[in-house]
């Protein structure tokens, strides 16, 4: 069944060693991507640039502005002195939110009447707009209650499990690791067989009695090892550069990462049995990678997707791996919780490997 497997593996390792540029790029690029995207992708809505148009200039209005600033959601970037300037600040993009405090604000509050706080919100970024609206409403409610000296009759006391600071980075980075690992594994192996075809070395290999499965596995293992080294590298960066705590077992995480490499490398192999040259392989790889970024739940919660998209997500190994990554890293989940995901990865791996071996006929045409 597997005659020639060690020979192929050994040969692939030599190829890797003889091509240090590719090796270094393979190891460095994901690290750079992680650092870059890790800092760039931040969905925390804080420090929204805000301008204030204070017509009242009383003690109450100054307290209101301080309260706004103290929420940390609003960063006062300036004061304006006309309706027009207020509008311009938002149109020009200098501010996302503008507060207008009417001239009678303090007076009405002091006399127990209802005071008005005008809020102008740039709705083009819906996340920011929703947050600004909620925070402004809550602030208004709290101020009102304080005014009448009443305590809210129902007090909501939330307790955040895991990620208590609600840092989006903690959510994004484990997902990013999954996506990056998928990309290397798929691309590396997709090129592995296509390269032999392009360089004409396949013809000689095909006239030997080598078994397709041995060839497939022999191509996978060296890149699997490389992918695994990469996984360890990005986990270290996640923990020590981004300070994302790893709550679960490291061993479990590594073991399950290894399981994830199986279907990813398998997809790469499958592509290489279909593609005729490296350009085609590249395109097919991105045909897989791109939807997986959107549908795996890396960027957007899958639960919010239309049913079709939600179920399509199940067809992507990275979907299960993201569950595993977030589970182990953020929630300290164990195999008890994650075994269905692990099982799915194994099933994917076996199926795609067998498919590739079946597709790979030892023929030229």
């Amino acid at each position: 069944m597997l005659r020639g497997l060690p020979a192929i593996m050994y040969k692939e390792f030599i190829h890797l060693r003889r091509d240090p540029a590719t090796l270094v790029l393979t190891l460095i690029i994901p690290v750079l991507q992680l650092v870059l995207f890790g800092y760039a992708i931040n969905t925390d809505v804080k420090n929204i640039p805000t301008v204030v148009y204070d017509l009242d200039r009383g003690r109450q209005s100054r307290e209101m502005v301080t309260a706004l600033r103290n929420t940390e959601y609003f960063r006062i970037v300036g004061e304006v002195y006309s309706d027009r300037a207020l509008n311009d600040a938002i149109v020009a993009g200098r501010a996302k939110v503008g507060f207008k405090i009417p001239v009678d604000f303090s007076e009405r509050l002091l006399s127990g009447e209802q005071a008005t706080l005008l809020v102008l919100i740039d709705g083009s970024d819906s996340t920011i707009a929703m947050n600004a609206l909620n925070v402004a409403n809550a602030l208004g409610l709290r101020t009102s209650l304080e005014q009448i000296g009443a305590a809210p009759s129902v007090e909501v006391r939330p307790k955040m499990l895991f990620n208590p600071d609600l840092k989006s980075r903690h959510f994004i980075i484990p997902g990013l690791i999954g996506i990056i690992m998928q990309n290397i594994a798929v691309l590396l192996t997709a090129f592995a067989i296509v390269r032999e075809r392009e360089r004409g070395t396949m013809e000689q290999l095909l006239v030997t009695p080598i078994r397709p499965l041995a060839l497939m596995l022999g191509k996978m293992v060296p890149y699997g090892v490389l992918g695994f080294v990469e996984t360890c590298l990005v986990l270290v960066i996640m923990r020590f550069i981004f300070g994302v705590p790893l709550r679960g077992s490291v061993v479990l995480l590594l073991a399950l990462s290894f399981l994830f490499l199986l279907p990813s490398l398998g997809i790469g192999l499958f592509i290489s049995t279909v593609a005729e040259n490296q350009a085609q392989a590249n395109q097919m790889a991105f045909f897989v990678i791109l939807p997986s970024i959107l549908l795996s739940g890396f960027m957007f919660p899958r639960e919010a997707m239309p049913a079709v998209m939600y179920y399509l997500g199940f067809l992507m190994p990275v979907t299960y791996f993201l569950e595993i990554l977030r589970g182990v890293i953020l929630r300290g989940a164990g195999l008890v919780h994650l075994w269905p995901n692990a099982l799915a990865l194994v099933a994917f791996g076996v199926v795609i490997l067998l498919l590739s071996a079946a597709r790979f006929h030892k023929r030229l045409a």
Binding site: R3, H15, G200, T201, V207
Partner: protein
């Protein structure tokens, strides 16, 4: 190994070279048999109804112009391409049903260098040895044997990509031989290498054939064809002829009835050879069917009435002091040119018949 080789007797019994090691096929059967082998790529018929046999221990030269279907035949025989129609067997195994059994028994050297350029000579040899299931002492022994055979001892640590053409071919041959195949397919093994390397490669092939291996070699060099024990000529996807070179030269179509072949050497007063001037005169002579320059001489195909004396008389004078005229046998090139012309005439006739 440059002495002329006599082809083995065409009959199946008798003094066929003894086969050592595992026999290439059931005793007494040809090593390679093609029966109506056909391959179509869409509308293009690359190989059209080709049948012939190759006996054990022969060097079979498969000839034809570029694009005539040589490589397609060799790839079908190696199990790389499935034929559209017809069958073939190699070493007694069917090429469609049993390609794996064939792969274990054959060595293959493709037209293009197809080893790993970033691996050293030694690493390439080790890799192919292991792929064929060799290991340990067995691998070492075989590796040393092929290294010795192709004399590549001094380059074992060199990357294959940095070898010159001739050395690449030697390495490819060594890799193709690592598992001691009794049948060897070589697709234009000497394409693009220098004459010395070409001669040395052929010496190697004779050595292998001497040890009893069956060699199937494609080429378009006529001098290489002359060295083969058997040749087959493929033209426009069809096999025109096959047989021992000596027999082919005696085919009736090659030197038509009532025709003779002469070699004429035209010499200037100072003894220099003037083939071009001779050619111009001879071409205009009545009774001369065909005249071509071959080295410093002119090869002629003439009608019966033209004798060596007439030729000499026609050429001498006109700046040519003396002419040496010798009757000659046709070369393989003459054979293929004649058969190709005949084939084209037949096709034209067939087309004309189809239209009428």
């Amino acid at each position: 190994m440059s002495e002329p080789r006599t082809p083995p007797p065409p009959s199946a019994e008798g003094t066929r070279p003894e086969v050592t090691g595992p026999a290439p096929g059931p005793a007494g059967h040809p090593t390679i048999v093609l029966q109506g082998l056909t391959k179509r790529f869409g509308a293009l018929t690359a190989v059209d109804d080709v049948s012939f046999t190759v006996e054990p221990g022969t060097i079979f030269g498969f000839l034809g112009p570029n694009g005539s279907g040589k490589s397609t035949v060799i790839r079908m025989l190696c199990g790389l391409i499935v034929p559209t129609a017809g069958t073939a067997s190699v070493g007694g195994f069917n090429i469609v049903r049993d390609p794996e059994r064939i792969r274990e028994r054959i060595g293959y050297m493709s037209q293009r260098f197809s080893l790993y350029e970033d691996l050293t000579v030694l690493e390439n040899l080790n890799f192919y040895g292991r792929v064929y299931g060799l290991r340990g002492a067995g691998l070492e022994a075989r590796r040393d044997a092929v290294v010795h055979l192709v004399h590549i001892e001094d380059r074992l640590g060199q990357r294959a990509g940095t070898l010159s053409g001739g050395w690449k071919q030697r390495l490819a041959l060594a890799c193709a031989l690592i598992h001691e195949p009794r049948i060897l397919f070589l697709d234009e093994p000497t394409a693009g290498i220098d004459p010395v390397a070409r001669r040395e490669l052929w010496d190697l092939l004779f050595e292998l054939a001497g040890e009893g291996a069956t060699l199937f070699v494609t080429t378009h060099y006529m001098d290489e064809a002359e060295r083969c024990t058997e040749v087959g000529y493929i033209y426009h996807s069809r096999l025109i002829v096959s047989g021992a070179p000596r027999e082919l030269k005696r085919l009736p179509g090659v030197t038509p009835a009532g025709m003779h072949r002469f070699e004429v050497r035209c010499l200037a007063p100072d003894g220099a050879s003037l083939p071009t001037r001779g050619l111009l005169i001879l071409r205009r002579m009545p009774g001369v069917r065909d005249a071509t320059i071959f080295g410093d001489a002119v090869h002629l195909l003439v009608e019966e009435g033209v004798s060596d004396a007439t030729l000499r008389a026609a050429v001498e004078g006109n700046g040519i002091a003396r002419a040496e005229v010798r009757p000659m046998a046709p070369s393989l090139e003459d054979v293929f040119v004649a058969l190709t012309h005949a084939e084209e005439a037949k096709r034209r006739a067939a087309r004309a018949g189809a239209v009428a």
